[in-house]
């Protein structure tokens, strides 16, 4: 029996080890390796890459604290956080409206929410380049109301693109949470003299909180590592962690440093996931 269980799980173990753990260990190994003379890396133990995140060497070879990468990390956190909050605020009413439609309309609307996933992400982000561009309708509107310059290649443009890209990941879990609500609870809210707003705040919101938390993780985690939006909509002017890693492996050919930044990013994701897991566990105990 016991051996059957072990052998039965073998495919899963092979998959986990071969496709997840081994590459991860390679990245970890690379992050402490020596930078290769012609790009790539050489097998020499050297944890300098991590030091490089916080310090740089000046002309005399002294270590100087340099916040340029910290500010990239900070900007990444800020943008991913803002994306998550905006997605929450927008997804709640959308999910509520969808969840309260008749079954057929509901299925259609949910289908429409997932529709963007059918098109390549690059194509969709390019579409925003056109929409926000000077000839696009948002760009034209911007000039019509007296705005100057271009909307593109700004943090705002990045934010718009990120919210657009990730909001379905928020709408779906929030929708699932609202749909599970007994409609009688909303009627009870109204019956007990709660206005729409009171019922939304005191009944719907607390009961959809698990859905919002799940959506927040689904949005925040990929938003941390986003590459496309900063590159296309941000014009590559402002580095984010995703673009930083990409340039280290690509243009700068500094694999060990790219790997080090990638592991820092992963550490941040793990922290978010752990916090969320602890929250949801304590919630289960309480409710």
């Amino acid at each position: 029996m016991r051996s059957a269980r072990v052998w039965g799980l073998m495919p899963a173990w092979v998959l986990m080890l071969g496709t997840l753990m081994v590459p991860l260990l390679i990245v970890a190994a690379v992050s402490v390796a020596e930078r290769g003379s012609y790009g790539g890396f050489a097998w020499d133990f050297n944890p300098l890459s991590y030091r490089e995140i916080l310090f740089s060497e000046d002309w005399d070879g002294n270590l100087v604290f340099d916040p340029k990468y910290l500010s990239i990390i900070g900007r990444t956190l800020l943008l991913a956080g803002a994306t998550t909050l905006i997605c929450m605020a927008l997804a709640l009413p959308v999910a509520y409206v969808i969840a309260t439609r008749p079954p057929k309309t509901k299925a259609l609307l949910i289908y429409l929410v997932t529709l963007p996933f059918w098109v390549s992400m690059i194509v969709r982000v390019y579409a925003w380049l056109i929409i926000l561009g000077n000839e696009g309708f948002v760009g034209r509107f911007w000039h019509w109301i007296g705005g100057e310059g271009t909307l593109l290649f700004t943090p705002g443009a990045m934010l718009v693109g990120m919210v657009y890209s990730y909001i379905p990941l928020m709408v779906l879990p929030v929708f699932a949470a609202i749909e599970k609500l007994d409609p009688a609870l909303l009627e009870a809210g109204a019956d007990l003299y709660g206005s729409r707003w009171t019922t939304a705040r005191r009944v719907i919101l607390p009961l959809t909180w698990p859905g919002l938390a799940a959506g927040a993780v689904l949005v925040f985690v990929p938003a941390l590592g986003t590459v496309l939006e900063p590159m296309l909509l941000g014009g590559g002017k402002q580095m984010m962690m995703g673009t930083l890693i990409q340039t280290q492996f690509g243009g700068a050919r500094n694999w060990p440093f790219g790997a080090a930044v990638a592991l820092v990013l992963m550490a941040m994701v793990v922290i978010v996931l752990v916090i969320n897991a602890r929250r949801s566990m304590s919630r289960e105990v309480r409710v």
């Binding site: 609870l185 009870a188 109204a190 019956d191 007990l192 206005s195 409710v287």
Partner: protein, 357 residues
């Protein structure tokens, strides 16, 4: 005794697409009354209750609450509260918070709120559970909290949507008494929706029998049971035997009847204007067997026997008609009648209701 009008339902109709849920329903509910809307599922009773609560709007007609037209009033501004079939307690709040919810929305200050919550918990004997959450309660306890929550804001009318249907039999019996008691104590008008005729007969001051979206009859439990006005009511409330008969003559509320069984007698009637074919309703417990056979006496043969504990139900065939007869088992181990046995059966004239066909 004159009582004020609590709820007036004026000629209310409701259509859902092609489906006519309510068809020109019109009645008045008095203050301090335990009023029951009784009918089979799909008769429109819940729709009517939801209209009074403000969750549905009438397609036609209007509803007046204590003299005030409420058709334009949203649910959260109506001074009525509902006990929901599923209780709909807020799962993320404690019981005390559940009860206080309506009071907070009404703007009661904290001391007054806390006093009222304590009073309500006391009323439904749930004081020790104040800080529990709904999922830590049994069905009967949830029921009590739902009642306390709905009564706390001192509603003018309490609406109860089949509140006992989720409870098991024993608890249901006990809750009936509690509900009746609560209604007397609080003096609030209760509108109770149920499909269970026994519940309705047991608790109500008056019952409105709804069928196919129409009011079939309104009256006290005894009136509804003993003097059904049509076949629907006679059939839905309790058990009865329907017999075809011929009305020979009518004299006000009395009619001269001739039955195919060969009997001729006078019986109470309502709604008939001219002689002709009619239906008789005769309740099984109003037919006596053997030594209890009095009044119009016939001879028949027992076709089946079902022992039910307190009662034994017989089917007796007489003159081509099958009559259901129920006999109280008044004495333990009493000798019963065997299938195939020939028996005398009899009923009195006043036990028979004449109904239009």
């Amino acid at each position: 005794m004159t009582r004020g009008k609590a709820v007036e339902v004026f000629n209310v109709s409701k259509r859902f697409g092609d489906y006519q849920a309510l068809d020109h329903v019109d009645f008045t509910i008095h203050e301090n009354e335990f009023f029951t809307l009784l009918g089979p599922s799909g008769c429109g009773k819940t729709t009517l209750l939801r209209m009074i609560a403000g969750f549905e709007t009438p397609s036609e007609g209007g509803i007046v609450l204590f003299g005030q037209e409420i058709d334009q009033l949203p649910a959260h501004k109506r001074r009525v509260n509902t006990v929901f079939q599923s209780y709909a307690l807020f799962p993320h709040m404690t019981l005390a918070q559940n009860i206080a919810f309506g009071l907070e929305n009404l703007g009661w200050d904290k001391p007054r709120r806390e006093a009222r919550v304590a009073e309500m918990l006391e009323l439904v004997h749930m004081t020790p559970f104040a800080s529990r959450r709904p999922d830590q309660l049994s069905g009967g306890q949830r029921q009590r909290i739902a009642l306390a929550r709905a009564l706390a804001p001192e509603p003018k009318v309490l609406l109860l949507d089949e509140p006992l249907s989720a409870l098991d039999l024993k608890l249901r019996q006990a809750m009936r008494d509690e509900l009746r008691e609560l209604q007397r104590k609080t003096g609030i008008t209760f509108i109770f929706v149920t499909h269970d005729q026994e519940e309705a007969l047991d608790m109500s001051d008056r019952i409105c029998v709804l069928g196919q979206g129409r009011v079939q009859q309104i009256g006290t439990p005894a009136e509804i049971y003993e003097e059904p006005e049509n076949r629907f009511v006679a059939d839905f409330i309790g058990e009865t035997n329907f017999l075809d008969a011929e009305v020979i003559s009518i004299d006000g509320a009395r009619a001269r009847i001739r039955t195919p069984l060969g009997l001729e007698f006078d019986a109470a009637q309502k709604g008939l204007t001219s002689p002709g074919p009619a239906t008789l309703s005769l309740r099984p417990e109003k037919i006596g067997l053997q030594e209890q056979a009095t009044g119009n006496v016939l001879t028949g043969t027992i076709r089946s026997r079902n022992y039910m504990g307190g009662y034994t139900h017989f089917v007796v065939e007489t003159g081509g008609a099958s009559l259901r007869v129920s006999r109280r088992n008044a004495v333990s181990q009493a000798e019963s009648y065997a299938v195939g046995q020939e028996v005398q059966l009899g009923f009195r004239d006043e036990s028979v209701r004449v109904l239009a066909q």
